[in-house]
Symmetry: C2
Subunit: 183 residues, 2 copies
């Protein structure tokens, strides 16, 4: 049960977002532009994967499953593939460029000062643009916020993984704007 | 020097905010509502202090000095008082309620799962409302994002502490909306 009375029984981040819609709207706008906006050379799948991986590192059950399911939807893969990236992306069947971006995301998760110039140069040498590096850092940083918001208030999350997978197509279609602000 | 070409020489978070105004606008709106909005029973000084303390724990030089100077402005105190809170708030001359909220912020900085029901009950017993606890968690979580954004891109920050102190009154007057989006 959540630490405060959220006045609704919605799972995960949706509970506090409705409880405080003034900030909920802004957080959804941030998710929309970082993860769903079409004006981005990083695929939606890769952006969701960066968020899911950061959430995995932060041990946030709700976020890693919501966004893991989103990546799974965009990649058109199975859950096992997403898990293989979370657990050991260096051995996963993904591009070297995405591996370099996930390395940066992993450093951001520990703290901003953990990102090294070598990690950045590696990403650039594999074709990552400045804007893609910027977005990788901000997506990982944003999930360090979302994860703490979700777990710091002790919100609940559905245990059944299928729930997350079933919701992903609708979320992919609708995006994040206004999500959770209507019951 | 920043890891990517930000196409401007502004310090701290202002550099990447101008580089990517689509997200910069949203981040400023979040800072505005969490730290500056008048519709809050937590004082502006206390909210800035929660941000400064979280930034101190994250070792983010730019953010801890910007927001430490803001708290100093609102509290009408000296830098030594702000430092005494950052370094050992339990011994500082602040209310027990603020101490309980800074305890929660300190847990959020480590990770959402570090917040305990005992910490929440303590805050409630000292008069903290649900909304105040919500905002404390979200402010601390948001600074875990801001700090990572600032340092993960290796932005530069003025070394002279007086720069931060001198800017605080203007920022207190103007708020955060649109900050950094005009050069």
């Amino acid at each position: 049960m959540a630490f405060i009375d959220l006045q609704n029984d919605l799972p995960g981040i949706r509970g506090p977002m409705i409880y405080r819609p003034e900030t909920g709207t802004i957080l959804n706008e941030l998710a929309e532009i970082l993860l769903h906006d079409e004006d981005n050379t990083l695929s939606r799948g890769d952006r969701e994967m960066i968020g899911a991986y950061t959430s995995y590192l932060n041990d946030c059950f709700f976020c890693q499953n919501v966004h893991g399911a989103m990546a799974q939807h965009y990649y058109e893969c199975d859950t096992q593939f997403i898990d293989s990236i979370k657990k050991n992306f260096l051995s996963a069947d993904i591009s070297d460029k995405l591996k370099s971006l996930l390395t940066i995301a992993g450093s951001v998760q520990k703290g901003g000062r953990y990102v090294t110039s070598e990690q950045i140069e590696k990403a650039k040498s594999l074709g990552a643009t400045d804007r893609e590096i910027h977005d990788t850092v901000l997506i990982a940083a944003a999930f360090c916020m979302f994860n703490r918001y979700v777990d710091g208030l002790n919100t609940w999350a559905p245990k059944d993984m299928q729930v997350y997978i079933d919701r992903a197509p609708m979320r992919a279609k609708e995006g994040y704007s206004q999500l959770g602000l209507t019951k």
